[in-house]
Symmetry: C2
Subunit: 494 residues, 2 copies
Amino acid sequence: MSFEKLDQLGRRIEALDHALAILGADEATHMAVGGGEARAEAMASLAGMRHRMATAPEIGDWIVAAEAEALNEEQAAALREFRRDHVNLTCLPPEFVERQTRTRMRCEQLWRELRTRNDWAGFQPALEGVVTMVREEAAMRAGALGLDPYDALMEQYDPGNRLADVSPVLEELKGFLVDFVPQALAVQEERLAKTPLKPLSGSYPVEKQRDLGLAMMAAVGFDITHGSLSVSHHPFCGGVPTDVRITTRYRSTEFLSSLMGVLHETGHALYEQGLPRAWSHWPLGKARGMAIHESQSLFVEKQIGRNPAFWTWALPVVERHLGESWTLDDILPHVHRVERGLIRVDADEVTYPLHVILRFELEQDMVAGRLEVADLPEAWDAKMQAYLGLSTIDTPADGPMQDVHWPAAAFGYFPSYTLGAMIAAQQWAAIEREHPGASEDFTRGHFDHVNDWRRAHVWSQGSRWSTPELIERATGEPLNADHFRRHLQARYGA
Amino acid sequence: MSFEKLDQLGRRIEALDHALAILGADEATHMAVGGGEARAEAMASLAGMRHRMATAPEIGDWIVAAEAEALNEEQAAALREFRRDHVNLTCLPPEFVERQTRTRMRCEQLWRELRTRNDWAGFQPALEGVVTMVREEAAMRAGALGLDPYDALMEQYDPGNRLADVSPVLEELKGFLVDFVPQALAVQEERLAKTPLKPLSGSYPVEKQRDLGLAMMAAVGFDITHGSLSVSHHPFCGGVPTDVRITTRYRSTEFLSSLMGVLHETGHALYEQGLPRAWSHWPLGKARGMAIHESQSLFVEKQIGRNPAFWTWALPVVERHLGESWTLDDILPHVHRVERGLIRVDADEVTYPLHVILRFELEQDMVAGRLEVADLPEAWDAKMQAYLGLSTIDTPADGPMQDVHWPAAAFGYFPSYTLGAMIAAQQWAAIEREHPGASEDFTRGHFDHVNDWRRAHVWSQGSRWSTPELIERATGEPLNADHFRRHLQARYGA
């Protein structure tokens, strides 16, 4: 039976994915500094095996044959995802992938070097090479999938998401935020004029911060028998669903940024830990995509972790670990701090979407050929001025050279971040409709209700539904900006 | 070119070996407790891929074809080891390997359960099944290799070692030790009657013991940029040569056992770190075998770490870390403690070889069909009485049920431990001949000379020579018991 062959193939690929995931997490947390070269070679070789295994010529035939077999509903769903995976993996010719990998890696290396020197002129030709190939890639993916080029790129990250649906929602959000950011800043300024910000700085030993992080992780649902917390330079969530590795970094003078990072990665981890175990060797058993994944991390970080009700419970926990007794009035101005800035990854939840929308608009134009790389600094600056009132014309390093995504040829990825924020708000609204006491639960450190809801509607579903289907089935309505807008107004408005 | 194909195959196998080694070390040190089942499945699947890759039918043809190619000396050496590996991997039919794996795993599971209950009667049939298959295995290996059956089993662990060479040496050692153990005990008793043993117990925080271990590792040559020290239930040396993972366990009331364990594993690690990097993807680049590997761990633990000269330097280091100022007279009676006991892994360097020789003799008889499993408890007891004056007739759990090796079908492995001890002593004698101040160096914490010698004669040689060739090329004489005997006499004699 051909489905059986796909099932067996899935187990072999799962073993290689397991190795790659653990080797990757280990590299960032426990590897000896001199182990990098051999590790890179081993991982490249394993990734090559995985790719050859997943794109072997007979797999297409197995999929076609399995579609004629008598499958139960679960198997049929699995087969759809086997096909989706296979099409996405095989729609680019191997020689193109090799050429693109070389172009992309050279551009990433240049980016690392030239960004620190603010050297746009040196970087531009390399990025032009990447964009030329991204246009080719988009055209080939579009042909294979029967989609528009930018939709075909997004399809890699968020299956089912289409510009026609996503664009109006982000456009509406942009319109709202361009007005709302100044309002939120004014509200904050007024409040700070009355009550100046109380610094949270002190001396917080790493070991105590780590214990605090572990206590918070466990409280919001992280299963410590199936995961761990380590230290790495860049925080991440990695590993495998039965052993999820999350990381943070610590500053001994300040605890909040590490703790919020831990909560963010815990949100990713809960999704991984909650995926259907029985499907773990099928594409069907994987998380649905980047927007849904980000919705889960932002749910824990923003909807739970920046909710005042959460801090009612959390402040005594912080006090037990760090020995500081702050009040809600001390902590919330930090947790809800809004600031205009040039850097996306440093942005708060009010300004962050404008950083994303700027990139989303520019990359659509680049993919469509309406914008050339040479004109990117001016185009970036114009939008930055229009959306956030800031200029990057003299600092391309903080403008179009800011992120690794474009040098890495990851076009179509940026919208996932803000879609995730909207989806999280929409899920929270759905939960509150069902269970109006959800926020009240947080004051007692109870997170079962929000976790049960997300387990039922998101985590346990794996890749059963497309991104928009999953959103609508879970929340009862298609993706929209209303809930996120109301969330921001309630938290940051007058 | 066929050699090129083998070279490429070697790189793919190296990647899988890298993954298996890191996943294995990670499992014992950093894996979440609930991650075991998925880890076991992933590792079994990767090990299966590795086996299929290394035994693919075309490889035999590549080897034959490569033997007709123009190869340089290094490539010719590599090819010899490719062939050796291939013969060892393919000389058993796959159906036999499967049947043996099932038999062995059932016996290991039973062993874990029944050993704690001292239940020989329940265990005997399972071990009989294993021994029956080991006899078949030995016959098949013997046929493929043109060796005697027990030699063919040893060949897996120490290529080139033959009973005809090894047996007389171990026989001579046994004769010496049966007399020497009572002498050494009498010497010790007399000394303790004059100066009672001073306890080394106290309170030694794990973090301080760890720092002490790291300081000692670095001093004796461990390259911390290519390895690390972690905690695990059973100490081991794992990982890959560019990232060697060694482990220990700590008791907060006693530091010596953990420290000696760290030195032992450091000896293994130095060998791995010193292997020729350029050959890492060939069997030629691997450590030669178990006896040589054990010689390197025992060199650091016994020849360096239990040498009084070492402790002249080490005691102030211990004091800096643990705050205890002991004298040589305090520490050496612990470091050189001799005790008759039933348990091999707890034995000191004087009694240990008798535990090994007992097993070596019994397993030869079992493989040859001269001894049946049913008669093992009596045979074990008789030798235990003759060699160490102890009885195990009522405690088979501490007799023939003591070790995992036989349930795991690892016959031919035991001699490696004591061969390693003899080789270490023989290497030390060769070093002292060349550099009479070697011991004196230790008092100043200088280990360059012993490391340079071992790097040149052992580590950098990989699998270039058979076990006996390596011994003779390094030390100028074939394996013999003289140096080990003199070492024991000097350290423990009257």
